[in-house]
């Protein structure tokens, strides 16, 4: 029974996108929808090949990935540190909470001009806007992770002789790791949105730039290739994060049976 259910699930999962692609292909070829704006998916293969060979698509992908990953690291590391501090020490929490909540609510792309003023128009500003966008997200998630740790764990550790420092390393840090990863997963989505937006507005390379330029020159097929690649990048980065999580937070990903 269970097996059948699973195979049905798999079939349905795959069927969705395939049906959509076929419908699109058919509608476009029969010109039911305008093929100029909705080029048939099959024609995108050729465009992709040309882009890779002649237009340095790989370079665009590379630079965008670099900006995302560098920005992610630059934002995540201090974000975790601040989040732990906010979770562990109430004065820091009370002091920073209003600020963090307010800044967190600002649409990230809105601070782009400010970031450019601060860090110039080079790579640094692209990395920094990603970093700043995710910093508070990671910090707030980490903080709530620390606060959500059952106080009994602290008692157990203290009862067995843990010092404050040992409490941090053996209780606060591992206890907040699942929440830290939740924050990082959300951040990845943010990072992708922000980098594409930034590249629309203020870059001369990158996948966002490529999409925007394709739109401006009405190369719709190129634009679609850019969209698909952005999707694949997001998916691949999430997968990478999942793999890291499996190594770092094995107890959360381990199944029910020993």
């Amino acid at each position: 029974m269970r097996r059948r259910r699973r195979s049905t699930e798999l079939t349905l999962t795959i069927a969705g996108p395939i049906i959509l692609l076929f419908a699109w292909e058919a509608l476009s070829r029969t010109e039911t929808i305008n093929p100029l704006f909705w080029p048939p998916p099959s024609s995108l293969w050729e465009t992709t090949e040309t882009l890779f060979l002649e237009k340095d698509l790989l370079g665009d992908i590379g630079i965008s990935l670099y900006r995302i990953i560098a920005g992610f690291v630059v934002g995540t590391v201090p974000g975790i540190a601040l989040g732990l501090a906010m979770g562990l020490f109430w004065p820091i929490r009370v002091f920073l909470m209003p600020l963090a909540s307010a800044i967190y609510a600002v649409p990230k792309i809105a601070i782009l001009p400010l970031v450019i003023i601060m860090f110039g128009i080079g790579e640094l500003s692209k990395i920094m806007i990603v970093a700043i966008s995710i910093f508070f997200l990671v910090a707030l998630n980490t903080m709530s992770g620390v606060l959500a740790i059952d106080t009994q764990f602290r008692d157990v550790a203290r009862n067995l002789g843990a010092s404050r420092w040992e409490l941090f390393w053996t209780v606060a840090l591992p206890g907040s790791l699942p929440a830290i990863f939740t924050g990082m997963r959300l951040s990845l989505g943010f990072a992708l949105v922000v980098i594409v937006g930034t590249e629309f507005l203020a870059a001369d390379k990158g996948i966002g730039f490529m999409i925007w330029q394709s739109y401006q020159t009405l190369r719709i097929q190129q634009m679609f290739v850019g969209l698909v690649i952005t999707g694949i990048m997001g998916w691949a980065l999430t997968l990478l994060l999942d793999l890291i999580e499996q190594v770092v937070v094995p107890w959360r990903t381990a199944g029910e049976e020993a």
Binding site: D155, A157, N159, G161, T170, G175, L177, A254, A258
Partner: protein
Amino acid sequence: MAYVTGTPQPGAHHSPRRQPTLLKSRTVDSGARVVARHVGRRFTTTDGSVDACVDLDLTVEPGSFCVIVGPSGCGKSTFLRMIAGLDHPTTGTLDVSRPDGRTPTNAMVFHGRTLFPWLTLQQNVAYGLKLSGMDRNTRLERAQELLGMVGLVDFQRAWPHQVSEGMRQRVSIARALAVDPDLLLMDEPFGALDEQTRYLLQEELLRIWERTGKTVIFVTHSIDEALILADKIVVMSTHPGTIRKVIDVPFPRPRFLTEVRSDPAFADLFTTAWSILREEVETGGAFTEGTA
């Protein structure tokens, strides 16, 4: 092929639970003495102050098994936390000592889910040893031995969420025993278990205690459990928590569940304890109160 006597029977490789060689065994000196004199704990909140317990006078002899029973909110957990050093009395004195004058150690088995989810069962048991600075191999070996004692050696690499509540509770006990404390404090350790598992663990606890001679202070709601385990039962009243009566339990050691239950004195002692508790539960507001 002839059958040879003494050949391991099928299943014999499941060796009987190993005796941990690393736990101190019962000696004249084993166990801590706990002396409480007029111990009280007052919690002060913005709405005023509440006495969790007042004027507790109690002596627990080294190596004895003391069970505290009382209705919800009688401050028994607070008392236990104070003995553990996790909280301090606001009045009176609480003295934990060893007959030979050395500093006693204690370990507490907490109520509820308190295994660290981020450590395997083996790492959980080894946790206290890690804090005491024991090297990795020695402490993991010792943890394995203790898991063997509670029958869980096959599950040492499992995460806490992967095993049953009864297994987790066994591991909690092993974790507390790992540091070989003079005083073992247990806060309703079997409260969340089904009855059968409870019986098994009670017997297991008795065997461990008989062998090691630790002082045990055990908190429970169950008079039944108290009678099976205790040398001395402390019956507490509620709001604020005070000691109503101390009952000596005469059943011989080593004890077995079935023998204790069929002893005629069991019913008498049960009645004695229940008549006090009943009064407390009915008049003490355990029906109406919400604060523990």
